[in-house]
Point group: C2
Chain length 154, copies 2
């Protein structure tokens, strides 16, 4: 039987790191006996906003912004990998460029993920509508089971 695949989607927010930490501490062999994939999206809106400010952005400016974003994503995934290693778990990392909510669901489907884990804030309804939009979208649209871990309010 193939090993199960669990994917944790992270970004730079504290709540997504809390979700990863929670999964490592609470899901036991559902994590340790599975292939764990840490995924982060590289949103591309930023690039287009900047490009439009410059009329047509010089290709090397676009290129350098994309490079910076890639470096940031790799640093994020590197830190997540270290957190996993502290729990004795070797994680694979992945990143795709695009709207986070879409690329997370697409990656989960493409890689035949059995369990998708996302973080969310436990805040009031207005902030929640904005901040929780990625987790909300994943719950409604991912084909696999989705675990939403909220960072408790301190």
């Amino acid at each position: 039987m193939d090993k199960k695949k669990v994917m944790v989607a992270i970004d730079e927010s504290e709540c997504s790191h809390y979700a990863l930490q929670w999964a490592l501490e609470n899901l036991g062999d559902a994590i340790s006996k599975s292939d764990l994939i840490i995924f982060t999206a590289r949103p591309n809106e930023f690039i287009y906003v900047q490009a439009s400010m410059f009329g047509t952005a010089p290709p090397d400016l676009l290129m350098s912004m994309q490079e910076n974003q890639k470096t940031a994503a790799l640093a994020l995934l590197g830190r997540a990998k270290e957190i996993c290693a502290k729990h004795g778990v070797v994680a694979e990392t992945m990143t795709e460029m695009g709207d986070p909510k879409n690329v997370i669901c697409e990656a989960a489907e493409k890689h035949k993920i059995q369990l998708l884990i996302v973080g969310s804030h436990s805040r009031g309804p207005i902030q929640r509508a904005f901040l929780g939009s990625v987790s909300n979208y994943c719950v409604h649209n991912a084909k696999c089971p989705v675990l939403v871990v909220k960072k408790p309010v301190e």
Copy 2:
């Protein structure tokens, strides 16, 4: 350290039984090493609808309807317990009367649940708005992490 507590909320739908089954098969020691609680709500709208049809419903009619509903809930929990036993898991059962989405979240908080598991349908947006309302509410309102397990479309 206290044992962790996992709660699976079920009703008579196929998708909630799928969620229980999925959890037993996929969550390994996160289930077997925790206290597993199977919870079902006994909605009380039915009673009031019936009561209003009769003007003031005779107290023994109300009583007998409540009894029937309790018997149905206990049968549901009994079947869920058997499914757990087949996986070598001894589950505790609980039921409360009230609006399912509220009593599920209240029970999760009252019993200090670490992980709440709910089933959901993976259907189109209109059916989803109705059928998925309990799981949706739990994701937004429960204080603990919530795992939404969708029954795949066959």
